[in-house]
Symmetry: C2
Subunit: 385 residues, 2 copies
């Protein structure tokens, strides 16, 4: 297998893009990436997207977007793994290049959610859960995460206020990210008073609905320096799965797919958690960030919120998290999120993260989650520029 | 890159499976394949599906189905390329094995359409077309194909009755396939009198809506004989794309993506059309079969229907087509169809096609189409058992 690197990145601001169609958003991100580095030939396009069929009136995004960005003819498909779709597209792009089927691949993620009304979006997002055993019982996707959070608080004696640090940190970092949807500070006091969504999850535990697209260009590392002075190497790419339905998991308090996925990734990269300089978590809800830090070896079981309380997840902390705002502050256009995480890691590893720059970072990790932990995609990237 | 073979196949009957959920259908096909040959380890599952989110209330099929068939933990994603989703999943499975990322992969396709009403299914299928420029103008997916067929008849002086041979042949072959949805004969007289759907496409030009699932197990050819006496080798796997919207194609009468895809496949397999012993076309509508035969080099431009009229597409003909009933007779559960085609090719190449057996066949081709030709996936398989 060949060593693979990212030679270019592109992204749109996450926002309510009412003036742009889904294909325009995707094109903005892809053409921005190609403007950074264009190898002159693209062999394949993998598009991460979850709910364009349900809320944007369009499936078949592979061919549609390939054509719109001037790549008519190229191999192109859509990849779906609920909110893990974006990183799954990066994973398939990585596989095509690593395996030698393609030299130059674009992995993109796109989602346009805000043209639909809240009910439509809520119903579409619930398709990530188990239709026969969860949503048919009236559970929404937020309420599934609320069950997880409630159980976590009960099991480990954690208070709701203990989660505040995740939201405060994410929004603080979003201020420095021009592509963030909500670049505004949030205080622990505001967090405590935010209106309830699905008890105990309140508004500031939750990532927002938004429109956006992000893209990366991948190629063999040995060719990368022809196109960029700052290639970022993919040390590891791994997907693992778990039961979609919460009730069927062996231990709902342990994100088993996050554990399996990250263990594969550590093994592939030949590193340990101590080698990670920053970690883009899938903080769709604060409970997810806590569970991920535990599954990935940064905190003991039931102790994830302590990192946030102790300030260890800040830009200058032991393990910086959500360094460009995370899902909470940058926004969460679901099928695009996993690609945003990779784009932001590349910004950090290139030293292009501006006021949010993590000092001397060399190795970063991103974890993108589908459902409440049923699909988990982990990437570990390394600066080699 | 490694040579890849198919070591096992599984399928359900295409039918109105009102008593089975989507995950049960998928499991029936996958477990049937694993009962044929089980390598004892599966590294990844790729699921082809188009509209489960819209008509079956479920996205996130990768993790859901992996778990349900006993593969919890494994890499799993859904792949979507409209009606070309099934073969796209096979393509990704092929890529993972060929590239060395995985040794044992299941590629499956599943679609459950008949629980929804006709209007819901028609709206969902139209998501394969261009939402901004076609469906927003009132075009359904059938009517887009009707535009193609009408133009073809005008341009080449072809009569509607000239297409009858495709439907007659498909239904004749369906009779010998226990998994076919409509194993009943159709006559040219019945074809001429069938009720109109979208002029000039009538009921017997059109493939039916159905539920079904199919699966294959792929592994490196060098390991294949440990698990089966009849491995079938993947000589070529190729995807190409075109404009989704018909009006934007350079020449709507030439399926450019079918041409590009099959040329790549011929080149990879180092063969010419004359080497193909049977061809599973994507006969969702009779016009598609005619256009494909032309794009793939079996007929001159505008002459595709002559093969059907001359009896050349029959089991004993020059180029047998739809040998197990095709989309028309076996049925067309959209996201599963591409995998059914591969399964049927394997049946033929193993010599297990019963009364439908193509004599002395060694090389077979399957072409799966998304939209009205915007995504085309071509596979060429070879008997090596």
């Amino acid at each position: 297998m060949r060593d693979v690197s990212i030679i270019a990145i592109g992204q749109t601001k996450v926002d309510e893009h009412w003036g742009k169609s889904l294909r325009h958003l995707a094109a903005d991100a892809i053409l921005a990436a190609l403007a950074e580095a264009n190898p002159g030939r693209i062999d394949a396009l993998y598009v991460g997207n979850m709910i364009s069929g349900e809320v944007a009136g369009q499936e078949h995004l592979g061919a549609l977007i390939a054509d719109f960005v001037g790549l008519r003819g190229v191999e192109a498909v859509k990849v779906e793994a609920a909110c893990g779709s974006g990183a799954a597209a990066v994973r398939l792009g990585y596989a095509a290049v690593a395996g030698g089927l393609c030299d130059f691949v674009i992995a993109a993620g796109v989602e346009k959610m805000t043209d639909a009304n809240g009910g439509e979006v809520t119903a579409a997002l619930a398709l990530a859960a188990d239709g026969d055993y969860e949503t048919s019982q009236g559970l929404s996707f937020v309420s599934i995460n609320a069950l997880l959070m409630r159980r976590y608080m009960y099991e480990f004696g954690v208070k709701h206020e203990d989660f505040a640090g995740f939201a405060v940190n994410a929004h603080k970092n979003a201020i420095g990210n021009p592509n963030a949807m909500f670049p505004y500070p949030v205080t622990a006091q505001a967090f405590a008073k935010a209106r309830m969504i699905a008890d105990p999850i309140n508004l500031l535990d939750s990532s927002p609905i938004g429109d956006g697209a992000a893209a990366v260009v991948l190629c063999p590392t040995e060719m990368a320096r022809q196109f960029t002075e700052k290639p970022v190497r993919v040390m590891a790419s791994a997907i693992a799965t778990d039961s979609v339905a919460l009730h069927d998991r062996h231990d709902p308090m342990a994100l088993q797919a996050a554990y399996l996925s990250v263990q594969r990734a550590y093994s592939l990269a030949k590193i340990t958690p101590g080698d990670i300089d920053l970690f883009e978590t899938h903080d769709a809800f604060t409970i997810m960030a806590a569970l991920e830090l535990e599954a990935c070896g940064f905190a003991q079981r039931g102790q994830g919120t302590r990192l946030a309380q102790a300030g260890e997840i800040g830009i200058d902390g032991r393990i910086p998290v959500s360094t460009m705002g995370g899902l909470k502050g940058r926004g969460h256009p679901v099928g695009a999120t996993g690609v945003y995480q990779i784009v932001e890691l590349v910004q950090q590893l290139r030293g292009e993260a501006g006021v949010n720059q993590v000092k001397d970072c060399r190795i970063g990790m991103a974890q993108n989650i589908g459902g409440s932990g049923a699909t988990v995609v982990t990437h570990i990237l390394e600066r080699i520029g």
